[in-house]
């Protein structure tokens, strides 16, 4: 298919449509965030003049008075801790499932799948009540615990699928050389498994980073409120001004790094998202 043919033109149009559709909300948010506050309602897709006032107002007042800095720290901290714990626990489980023979293996996989389908709203009421009596309401662990539960099935499935592709002969070779199953795990398999583990970590991080339901139900202040929840509670400078500009600027700050990251690791993410989706 050469340039200038009709097929080539059709493909170019199809690709352009997909690209434009994917990018429009991102460009729109950037554009909104760069509009001066008095031009927010000019309804133009591209700003007529550029100002960084919306970004300045996000960080104004330092850590104590800024509406954005604490939620940003909470989001990053909670998502990172969730990712580390989830990946450690899921790696153990996935290793056992992919590699060892034991009764209950299918039950664990089926249970993990059931939890992946579980509606989070069904646990919000009990958790709200329990967390208040346990002192976990509006704390980091109060969010990390539910995130762990709902990210583990994802991590386990991705890791089992990716672990099954590892050349396990090397582990047997280690066993022949006298290594215990534990040594074979830490010395041989961990380095081989690292790329898959990294893939699962990205997916878990994005999952925790994205959550909104638990974040608005189980928090009440900047002590643990994450960015998605904080955005929903942003207020304007006065009761007459809309927080549109600040929300747009905050949205850009939390979106651009993730997009860059996602695009940089896109092959891994695609592999992870589709791991185990079909028998290869």
């Amino acid at each position: 298919m050469g340039r200038g043919t009709r097929d080539y033109a059709y493909w170019s149009i199809a690709i352009a449509v997909v690209l434009i559709f994917a990018l429009i909300p991102v460009i729109w948010l950037i554009s909104l965030s760069l509009k001066p506050p008095d031009a927010i309602t000019d309804q133009r897709f591209i700003p007529s003049e550029v100002s960084f006032d919306n970004y300045k107002s996000l960080f104004e007042g330092g850590i104590d008075d800024s509406p954005f800095i604490k939620p940003l720290i909470n989001s990053i901290g909670i998502a990172l801790i969730t990712t580390v714990i989830s990946i450690v626990l899921a790696s153990f489980t996935a290793y056992a499932i992919a590699r060892l023979e034991f009764p209950g293996k299918r039950l664990i996989l089926a249970g993990a799948l059931a939890i992946a389908m579980f509606p989070p709203i069904s646990t919000v009421g009990p958790l709200f009540d329990m967390w208040r009596s346990l002192g976990l309401y509006d704390t980091w662990p109060g969010l990390i615990i539910p995130y762990l539960t709902f990210s583990l099935p994802l991590a386990i499935y991705v890791l089992v699928a990716l672990f099954r592709e590892i050349p396990w002969d090397l582990e047997e070779a280690a066993a022949v050389d006298g290594a215990t199953p534990y040594q074979a795990f830490t010395k041989v398999i961990v380095p081989l498994a690292a790329p898959g583990v990294f893939t699962a970590a990205i997916l878990v991080f994005i999952f925790a980073w994205n959550d909104f339901l638990f974040a608005i139900s189980l928090t009440s202040s900047d002590a643990s409120r994450t960015v998605p929840a904080a955005l929903a509670f942003f207020t304007g400078e006065s009761s007459f001004t809309q927080p549109t500009g600040s929300i747009a600027a905050a949205a850009v700050v939390v979106t651009i790094p993730i997009i860059v990251f996602v695009l940089f690791f896109q092959r891994r993410i695609v592999a992870g998202l589709t791991a185990g989706a079909v028998k290869g």
Binding site: S12, F21, A22, P25, A96, P119, T149, I269
Partner: protein
């Protein structure tokens, strides 16, 4: 049982125990707790009136018009967005599969919505359609005065669009994964026999992709039934656009009515269970080949 088998089992159980406990801690126990709350009158604003009420809360929910309106809204948004996602996702998967060039560009493009926080995407679309800030009403063929969030079905249109934008990539990638497993020799043979492109799609691609399509549909349908973020940001349920998850949230967190809210939670749980059951038993979705949604 040999010593090696026994030590292997012991190791396996030790490796699995922490994750299993962590998964049960926030699902099995809370759902049991939710069932217990749902048969009591517990309103944190009126704690002295608490007590066992049997199935009264369920009766109150199931006989309220709001519950059935919200079920309709949830199913409406879910069915239409999943249907559009299936068609668009299939088209994008085919573009990625067949493209001689630009495959990387399309993959890059579809991963952008995946990486964006749902709430952020919802705000972006809300600002785009809002009559005061948005550019959409300035587009040709659309009235400058169109108040998208002033009516029920125009709100749904924007909500569905935002949902489709955010989750089509996941659908496309799952379908692509099914597409690449099809033996390309089948297409060559069909071509030789004179099958048209449409015949090759309906007679080869679709039947062979049925397992992948069902798994993708199952996960997106369940995900769609839980719709919360987009509606919360765009309308908070105004104009009769509330979903069942928002109803549950309002009862539990806004009105602190744990009894009634838990009855809603348990009913949602049952609905999700029924949807999964229909897919697995009715359509024969092989979920053990599937994976949890991302």
């Amino acid at each position: 049982m040999s010593a090696r088998t026994r030590s292997e089992r012991k190791l396996a159980w030790m490796l699995c125990a922490p994750a299993v406990l962590a998964m049960l801690a926030v699902t099995a126990y809370p759902i049991g707790y939710a069932v217990a709350l749902s048969v009591q009158q517990i309103d944190l604003r009126f704690p002295e009136e608490s007590g066992f009420v049997g199935l009264d809360n369920y009766g109150a929910v199931l006989s309220s018009e709001l519950w059935w309106t919200d079920i309709f809204n949830t199913l409406f948004v879910m069915l239409i967005s999943v249907a559009i996602e299936l068609v668009l996702g299939m088209a994008i998967a085919l573009v990625m599969y067949k493209a001689i060039f630009g495959r990387g560009v399309v993959r890059t493009a579809v991963l952008i919505p995946y990486g964006i926080i749902t709430v952020v995407a919802a705000f972006a679309w809300q600002f785009a359609f809002a009559p005061d800030t948005g550019f959409v009403n300035q587009l040709p063929l659309i009235s400058d005065e169109m108040d998208w969030f002033g009516g029920r079905f125009s709100s749904f249109a924007v909500i569905i669009m935002a949902e489709v934008w955010k989750t089509t990539p996941f659908m496309a990638l799952l379908l692509l994964a099914g597409l690449v497993t099809i033996d390309s020799g089948l297409y060559e043979a069909a071509k030789v026999d004179g099958a048209s492109a449409w015949q090759r799609f309906t007679k080869i691609t679709l039947p062979l992709m049925k397992p992948a399509i069902l798994v993708a549909l199952l996960f997106r349908t369940l995900d769609g039934f839980r719709v919360f973020d987009t509606i919360f940001v765009m309308t908070r349920g105004a104009q009769d656009t509330e979903s069942v998850s928002i109803l549950g949230y309002n009862q539990l967190i806004s009105r602190l009515n744990l009894g009634l809210g838990s009855a809603v939670s348990v009913l949602i749980f049952i609905c999700v269970f029924l949807i999964a059951f229909v897919f697995v038993r009715g359509f024969g979705a092989k979920v053990d080949e599937g994976r949890p949604g991302g």
